[in-house]
Amino acid sequence: MRRITYRQALREALQEEMERDARVFLMGEDVGIFGGNFKVSQGLIDKFGEERVRDTTLAETVIIGAGVGAAITGMRPVCEIMLADFVGVCFDEIYNKAGKWRYMHGCEVAVPMVIRTPMGCRGGGGAEHSQCPEALFLHGPGLKIALPSTPYDAKGLLKAAIRDDDPVVFFEHKLLYDLEGEVPEEEYIVPLGKAAIRREGQDVTILAYSFMVHKALAAAEALAANGIEAEVVDLRTLVPLDVETVLASARKTRRVVIIHEANKRGGAGAELAAIIQEKLFGVLAAPVIRVCAPDVPIPFSPALEKVYLPDEEKLQQAVRELLAK
């Protein structure tokens, strides 16, 4: 099968959906001629023109607020927030407007919009340019959350998100844009709410999403060399959450380790651990463990960022300790 990058896969998803549905359009800072900060929308303005690939002002409140306004009046906006850290400046618009407008207003109108935003550390971004804020939206009723880890999923999930009638916060990871992977020429969709088992194993389940899926796979390989077979589940979306797949894997291995790049306290791992311990009490052979960043702002210096980030070594270590229990 042909191989393309995560970035190209995203671009194809945008292009195909824009071709398919005239209501789909892009807006955000520098998404036009410039093609977006990470060049995902590069070239689309040539195909679709300035009307459908819109450079906005530097004003995230209006990027998202106008997205909601357009979505409830018949369009299907795909809004780009240049970095996921900036969700804070349009938080009310995402959390309270996009997420709740439908319910508050008679459950009649749909809010079909996608908020694309790149997250994560990539060396020297510091506390306000490296965050993974997905957990904040987990708490928000009405929102869906997608976090693709491969080019295949990037395309399939983005297409599903654009076609979905609900607001989807779509997190892309900066370190994945250049990742190559198999992506078929034919049209396909990856449905929201279906996890993928990236590697089978019976000794321990590792739950991951986005970039950390790759750390999990690396750790699993290394563990396998020591005879430990880890099952790696890529959640793909946090809302809807594929509880069934998660529990099935956990039931099989009886040991679960969650890895995410975001800091631990109040992170998505907390919700996952809370669900699993509740549903599988008495089944698990060990507590559910979280391997995450510590609860500190992300340091700028790469010397500290390395210490900060969860990675395959920390994950392996945690798995080993868990199995030793």
Binding site: T57, A59, V62, G65, M75, H105, K194, P240
Partner: protein, 327 residues
């Protein structure tokens, strides 16, 4: 130019309807039928009605917490408004919204609980109309207090740059909650900000429904012609507290009285009489009709059921596939 008689009558009728309905709500609130905080627009009628009557049914409205008049002006039935405020299943937002009135069949898109959130949403509705190639106009409302929020700046500027058909309407009633305008801005007019955005800024007497109507018509014409947004500021006053539990002791009773003397409805009535546009009999029969409409709305709302418990879980997502396991 004076509007046609039927328009004048409609303006009058709707101002009355707004006033009577809101007066009834004062009572219903006191009696405990309306829960939560109730923010009334009594005194604002020239603005809420004068700016909505000139709109088409397919135009969009994004009003704010004093939205009874705007809803009526745009054509939402009094009874579904009232039922909504009373938390009934027959409310225009199914009783789930309360102050979040909406009626998509007449372009009422809803309200933002955080003041000013509606401004950027209106920019999006305007964008949508423009992109779909319709000539629909979007009108959005906010107080002079809310004009201090950042979304005022972001929403208007983006609409200006994209020349969107959005009309930004500031209902300046001198107070934001307890705070007098003099404490929140140095200039006299919110509309003075229009200068910085390079769009027209218009100040009107917000108690003169004809002046409001005219300013709105001009703004609508500009918007439909693709000439972009207008910022209209109407100077008015709210007669009641910020909400129905606020005795508004921060205002000088003389100030309140002086503004009541400038009642927009009384003023319009005097005009209609002086110009012999409606006869005393016509006026009386309009009043009767409107009173009856309000009474019917009250009966309707009082007799409406509350939402069923299952309604709580319904409608969070348009596509709930895969979601329910988490509730």
């Amino acid at each position: 130019m004076l509007p046609e008689k039927n328009v004048l009558v409609e303006l009058y009728r709707k101002m009355l309807l707004d006033r009577y309905l809101e007066e009834a709500m004062v009572e219903l609130y006191r009696q405990g039928y309306i829960p939560g905080s109730l923010h009334l627009g009594i005194g604002h009628e020239a603005l809420s009605i004068g700016t909505t009557v000139p709109l088409r049914r397919d135009d969009y409205l994004v009003f704010s917490h004093r939205g009874v008049g705007h809803s009526l002006g745009k054509g939402v039935p009094a009874r579904t408004i009232l039922a909504e405020f009373m938390g009934r299943a027959t409310g225009c937002s199914l009783g789930k919204g309360g102050v979040h009135l909406s009626d998509f069949s007449v372009g009422c898109l809803g309200i933002s609980g955080s003041q000013g959130g509606n401004i950027v949403i209106a920019t999006g509705a305007g964008l949508s109309a423009k992109m779909r190639g319709t000539d629909q106009v979007t009108a959005v409302y906010f107080g002079e207090g809310t004009a201090n929020r950042g979304c005022f700046h972001e929403g208007i500027n983006q609409a200006a740059v994209w020349r969107l058909p959005v009309i930004f309407i500031c209902e300046n009633d001198l107070y934001s909650y307890s705070t007098h305008q003099s404490k929140i801005m140095l200039r006299e007019n919110v509309a003075d900000h229009a200068y910085g955005y390079g769009i027209p800024g218009v100040v009107v007497d917000g108690n003169d429904v004809l002046a409001v109507y005219e300013a709105m018509q001009e703004a609508i014409a500009r918007a439909r012609a693709g000439e972009g947004p207008t910022l209209i500021e109407g100077k008015t006053y709210r007669w009641r507290g910020h909400h129905e539990k606020d005795p508004a002791l921060y205002r000088d009773p003389a100030e309140v009285e002086a503004w009541k003397q400038k009642c927009p409805i009384k003023r319009f009535e005097l005009f209609l009489q002086a110009e012999r546009i409606i006869s005393p009999e016509e006026q009386a029969s309009i009043q009767d009709e409107v009173r009856q409409e309000v009474q019917e709305a009250i009966d309707f709302a009082l007799n409406s059921p509350f939402p069923q418990p299952e309604e709580l879980y319904r409608g969070v997502y348009a596509n709930p596939a895969g979601i329910l396991d988490l509730i």
